[in-house]
Symmetry: C2
Amino acid sequence: MNITAFRYEDSIIVVDCGLSFPDDDMLGIDLVIPDVTYLLDNIDKVKGFVITHGHEDHIGALPYILKEVNAPVYATRLTMGLIEHKLEEHGLMRSTRRKVVKFGQFINLGDFRVEFIKTNHSIVDAAALAIYSPAGIVVHTGDFKVDYTPVYGDPIDLQRFGEIGKKGVLALLCDSTNAERPGFTASEKTVGATLDTLFREHKKSRIIVATFASNVDRVQQIINAAYQYDRKVVVEGRSMVTVIDIAQKLECIKVPDNTLIDIDELKNYPDNKQVIITTGSQGESMAALSRMASGQHKKISIKPGDTVIFSSTPIPGNEKSVTNVVNELMMKGAEVIFQDVHVSGHACQEDIKLIYNLVKPKYAVPVHGEYRHLVAQKEIARKLGIPKENTFILKSGDILEMDAKGARIHGKVPTGAVLVDGIGVGDVGNVVLRDRQRLAQDGIVIAVLGIDKGSAQLVSGPTIVSRGFVYVKESDELIEDATDLVLDEVTEALSRGITDWPKIKNLVKDILGEFIWKKTKRRPMILPIIMDN
Amino acid sequence: MNITAFRYEDSIIVVDCGLSFPDDDMLGIDLVIPDVTYLLDNIDKVKGFVITHGHEDHIGALPYILKEVNAPVYATRLTMGLIEHKLEEHGLMRSTRRKVVKFGQFINLGDFRVEFIKTNHSIVDAAALAIYSPAGIVVHTGDFKVDYTPVYGDPIDLQRFGEIGKKGVLALLCDSTNAERPGFTASEKTVGATLDTLFREHKKSRIIVATFASNVDRVQQIINAAYQYDRKVVVEGRSMVTVIDIAQKLECIKVPDNTLIDIDELKNYPDNKQVIITTGSQGESMAALSRMASGQHKKISIKPGDTVIFSSTPIPGNEKSVTNVVNELMMKGAEVIFQDVHVSGHACQEDIKLIYNLVKPKYAVPVHGEYRHLVAQKEIARKLGIPKENTFILKSGDILEMDAKGARIHGKVPTGAVLVDGIGVGDVGNVVLRDRQRLAQDGIVIAVLGIDKGSAQLVSGPTIVSRGFVYVKESDELIEDATDLVLDEVTEALSRGITDWPKIKNLVKDILGEFIWKKTKRRPMILPIIMDN
């Protein structure tokens, strides 16, 4: 959920506007977007959104936030292509001002001037930003790697980093994702060589390659290998089809004529003339590969002799689902290859040192990655001679103030996660989440009582119904005993003249909760409902 | 959930009886034990449980299964110590026959003779089994590694593996966990050397070491390092205290006098004289380390200057929780060390080859590990010259039949996961789990209607209550509209003479479900309750 506001007096620019996917305890939530109260409070100052690249964690929240903060969006070509696809889905194309920016181009946004600098990453058209302001120059790398032999376009513009560095840079905000990893990140082209070898070694089998939907260069290389070995290619998985479609229109990917075919044409070709490029490399249960593995894909089933290549690495947290898919594929007889067919899109330690040496910032502000990665980059900065007190590890919402006197963390703006569930944005809060967690744990037991308000008599019920608690046939006796207990206690309470519904509800909650805990050692949610008759 | 039955005519022996922890979709489940229908159907043939080592996935289901299948239990000393602790908790000590077996010792169980062979593993007293029967010898390695310089006791008894191999072994069941990893597994002693270096380098700070509760040798080495650098040791975390307590009584661990202290005595020593050995190396939210990291531990809080060592590696699936704990520790100012302070307890590829070369089995049956690991061992066996058709990858329940004519998979016995929730064993089935998943996703909407059966009149309600669906203040209007809708539809249905309660319930379910989906794009569980008045 990357979003950073830069402010100089009355000008604010926003770098990136990403979403994040829900944590395991955010039950039922579809996605998470940032709280932009600070921007809303200063809406007249917001000059625009400047986007570094087209990954979901950098562009995904735009359609939600633009509805509240309608400012122009600046991005490079493929990034803008992906943003526009989102804006179309949300009906925001007409209301959103947009400008496609070229590398080396400057844009003026209030007191700021922003330059887009070519970098490399696991998506085409990634940019670093040089942000010029009266207070000094800030360089923001975005997510990046150093690739001297990229598949598409130019290598990272190291000369320009050096040139700007020479002018004197106030602060460097540098990608920390791989700051724990020693050495250099390998070029994307090395994967092409591996793919070539694998295609040569598996001439007889159908080849299925799973990778990240947005990695256009990877798809390009798979297509190249397929073309080389005279195979037809099917792209499968909605998100990948979308990205490749946009990339083709923008000519970020070159597909030889008659290479891409429709999935329904597969049957016209023998197995060893087919390549299927698919989503699902993270073991996502609804993605195409998982459906193939579990036999739920309508058009492709895995069979003995298939070769499945994972051109990816599991994102932390996905290891188990990936292994489940690998197991399923193997049980269906496929050969599964998952080693050394991937390179990272992020700079490792030596690459980070290179950027620091070109930019030579006064202040270091590690960005992107877990807290542990920020700490690892701080250590790198220290080794490069940046004094400890000149490195700032920011937490969400921290305000880093930089002026002639120095730099300091000075206060906080409101931040937080806004949960999106269905079409509801922000209407699922902590109470609802806690209830879902409770329901998930031990289910719910509902006790309905019909009470005549006038006579304070129980006229119907108690009726006790449960869901997600215990299989009913096993527990008829339990529910009967509970019903008797509630009946006795409520009748007794009413006879004592207690006619305060909240009091009766609490009574039912307590005695039922205690009874169930004693009998089952479970704590379902207890929900008493009183019907006024 | 390891459990394997060996049968020869009227004799059955059971090797291991483990539990597993619930998958992510088994909401609210505490643990999972195996379905032992096959043993119950053949209960008079069951001669005993033979246990290879004391890990939960090998002993954890014993107290549950022994209640149904009361047969004697055979295990080595520490393994039995850990089993007895469980039996005491379940009140099964008096009813369970037990025998502590020494390495090299044979036990006779019906037509079987079982020999316990010394191995190494991440828990003391692990054993392989040589199972002698009229059909031939089967060697079962259990979980094992080859450690020439173990911390406690002898190295694996390779001579005996060779000697038995010379006799001619029918089948080898060999641990596959690390079958994808090339090379050899390092000795546990190498960790001792690393710990020594770390203790030397961090002389000024308090040291907290997190590791697996049952890894007695690891705890021994941490205690050794503490003693060496004149520090007092606190063991924290219930499961670890239990294991160390048992290990001390059985003299599997040697603690110098006055080294272990009580947690309340910590305050009497300066930081650099303290070592805290703790559970929580997997980021488990309730474990001691996680509570320290989040500031919820009653007696220990993390502070700047602390050194926290993860003497562990994240088990697949736990990466994210471990990273969360690491982040929290770092945010509190601790230095966190998590690289190269752990070795695996399982044999890597070259170790597996060694065992195959000593045992030289006719048939290979890879065991332990994911399916992908079993496939990796099959490939190792193939490289060692075991014909493909002589290697059997079994799925749970598969019957592998071996006789003079050969070996084959021949049929299946019933298997499955029996879910334990609270004190309920097996009373949470698919229906309950599906309900919990549904409830977790979008909550529940309950509609209560009081209907007079005689007059078929709605006398109270509809009352609509929701939990885990949407925060109520935001949705008053939604609930009001839903109430009106249900009122109209039910009144209309009753007026048309529909008095069949299931029909009315379905009607409410349908219209309410559709209305809510249209308004929110969510699908809460809809639960109509009709009260007969």
